[in-house]
């Protein structure tokens, strides 16, 4: 539940950093720090986007009442 906020939070943070930089009222040191942080955030976001593995599974009840995950194939 917490994890799904990561991307959203990162993008929001990124937006804030970019705005601050664009406004140009940071000191040189601050803007370098913001830039560095911003770049590492874009990397993190891209990584999150690559993470999904594209599995479609289904949870079905097996004999004995146990639930089992199996790959879901669509019926044509």
């Amino acid at each position: 539940m917490v994890q799904n906020r990561i991307f959203e939070t990162a993008v929001q943070k990124l937006e804030t950093l970019v705005r601050k930089l664009e406004n140009g009222d940071l000191t040189l040191e601050e803007s370098l720090k913001a830039f560095e942080e911003g770049i590492s955030l874009t990397r993190a976001c891209e990584k999150l986007l690559q993470e999904a593995k594209g599995k479609v599974e289904q949870l079905v009840k097996k004999e004995g009442g146990k639930w089992e995950k199996t790959s879901f194939e669509e019926a044509e």
Partner: protein, 435 residues
């Protein structure tokens, strides 16, 4: 279907009524004609003895004592008379004094302006009711008249009941909507936002329906690698609602599902009915994971839609709601990166230029300052030179001091005879005595 049944039943009722006389005639042998009873039923031949009854009095013959029934016998006779005549009836009226007994049976009265009728609907029959019975509802019902012998009470035993002027399902829908609404299940304040980018999407629907196909299609188009967990369920027919509710609960036990789509494709109100059942509404309400309802078409509104955090008009729309387009996200990140770099590099030349300017100003400033100071120093030194006592001495002046004092003597009057003096010349010094 109910209508057909009713017509059929009505015909049957008519038929029964036509047969009434025959029946009464038959039962007469058993009991009906208590002799001498002025209101002997239905016959119109009050004094005619029932045929073949051995105790029938004949005119002029000695009068036998009237038959005396036990209460049980009489009641039993009344019962069989009533049951024989009203084996199947339709009746309409308003429900009052409704009581659902703990044993599951329903007891109430059917009434209109002039009369009332005790009614009972046993557990087996009332379990099939889609809506809740309550006082004041006008109903049309079907059943048979019987006598509860222990109380000497006649009543109608109902096997079917429908609301008057409104469909049973429609009434059930309105009732449940009102009830759950009052309990706060539809409160806007409790509706949760959907995750921006879910890690895994839970889907509760039929594995073979159109809904799952549509959902997967859209999901794959928007976010090709998105993870999906399907819990296959029946979405219509007996037990569908319970399966759906159980699946929602099971979905909540998964650790990585962060949004749930529950729904099915279009159908009749009966087909969609599971999504109007209380057990499904409660399961959606209980879910810790945000739920998107996606039942039928745009125009279909179900109770599930009211409880869900978000109502999607169709299963396809649900898929669009739960996942952003991956392309858009990649674009967003790319744009951010560009802006980031631009923002920083836009500042750099400016900063460098400023630095250069400063450096120039610094060195210029230094140079100018130096020259100024140099001049000043030279002037100062020349002044110093002019003012130097040495310069004066060189012109032939000398300085007189008392020996042991550093102050030069400016007046002769401070001197006494015999004072020792020191005289300083431009070059060298000497001692002298005042005379």
């Amino acid at each position: 279907m109910a209508r057909k049944r009713k017509e059929a039943a009505a015909e049957q009722c008519g038929f029964d009524f036509n047969k009434t006389e025959d029946r009464v005639q038959k039962t007469e042998d058993l009991s009906v004609a208590a002799r001498g009873e002025p209101s002997t039923p239905a016959r119109g031949e009050p004094s005619t003895p029932a045929r073949g009854e051995p105790s029938t009095p004949a005119r002029g013959e000695p009068v036998e004592p009237p038959k005396i029934f036990s209460v049980a016998e009489l009641t039993k006779n009344i019962r069989s008379l009533l049951e024989g005549n009203f084996g199947e009836v339709w009746v309409c009226g308003e429900i009052s004094n409704f009581k659902a007994h703990t044993n599951g049976h329903f007891y109430f009265s059917l009434k209109d302006e002039k009369a009332q009728l005790s009614a009972v609907m046993f557990r087996g029959a009332n379990a099939k009711l889609a809506f809740r019975l309550q006082d004041g509802i006008e109903v049309i019902c079907h059943g048979r008249i019987s006598v509860y012998e222990a109380r000497g009470q006649y009543q109608i035993i109902l096997d079917y009941l429908e609301p008057k002027g409104i469909g049973a399902l429609q009434l059930a829908f309105e009732q449940l909507k009102k009830k759950l609404g009052a309990e706060g299940l539809f409160d806007v304040a409790r509706k949760r936002a959907l995750p921006f980018l879910p890690k895994k999407i839970g889907v509760v629907t039929s594995p073979t329906g159109a809904a799952i196909r549509d959902i997967l299609n859209i999901l794959r188009r928007r976010y090709p690698d998105i993870e999906v967990l399907l819990i296959p369920v029946k979405v219509q027919g007996d037990g569908a609602a319970i399966e759906i509710a159980a699946a929602l609960e099971l979905m909540n036990e998964q650790t990585d599902v962060d949004v749930i789509i529950v729904g099915r494709g279009g159908g009749s109100i009966e087909d969609l009915w599971a999504f109007n059942e209380e057990v499904v509404a409660r399961a959606i309400f209980k879910s810790q994971i945000p739920v998107v309802s996606a039942v039928g078409h745009e125009v279909d509104f179900t109770i599930a839609d009211f409880v869900a955090d978000v109502r999607a008009p169709t299963p396809s729309a649900a898929a669009e709601l739960v996942v952003p387009r991956k392309q858009d996200l990649e674009m967003t990140i790319q744009t951010m990166r560009t802006r980031l770099i631009q923002a920083v590099s836009k500042d750099f030349p400016q900063r460098m230029m400023r630095l250069d300017t400063l450096r120039e100003r610094l060195s210029y400033g230094w140079q100018v300052g130096f020259e100024k100071r140099d001049d000043y120093l030279k002037r100062l030194m020349s002044n110093l030179h002019h003012l130097s006592p040495l310069n004066i001495l060189a012109k032939g002046y000398s300085v007189v001091q008392k020996v042991g004092s550093t102050k030069p003597i400016k007046k002769a009057s401070v001197l006494k005879e015999g004072d020792s003096l020191q005289i300083t010349f431009a070059e060298g010094l000497c001692r002298a005595k005042v005379q």
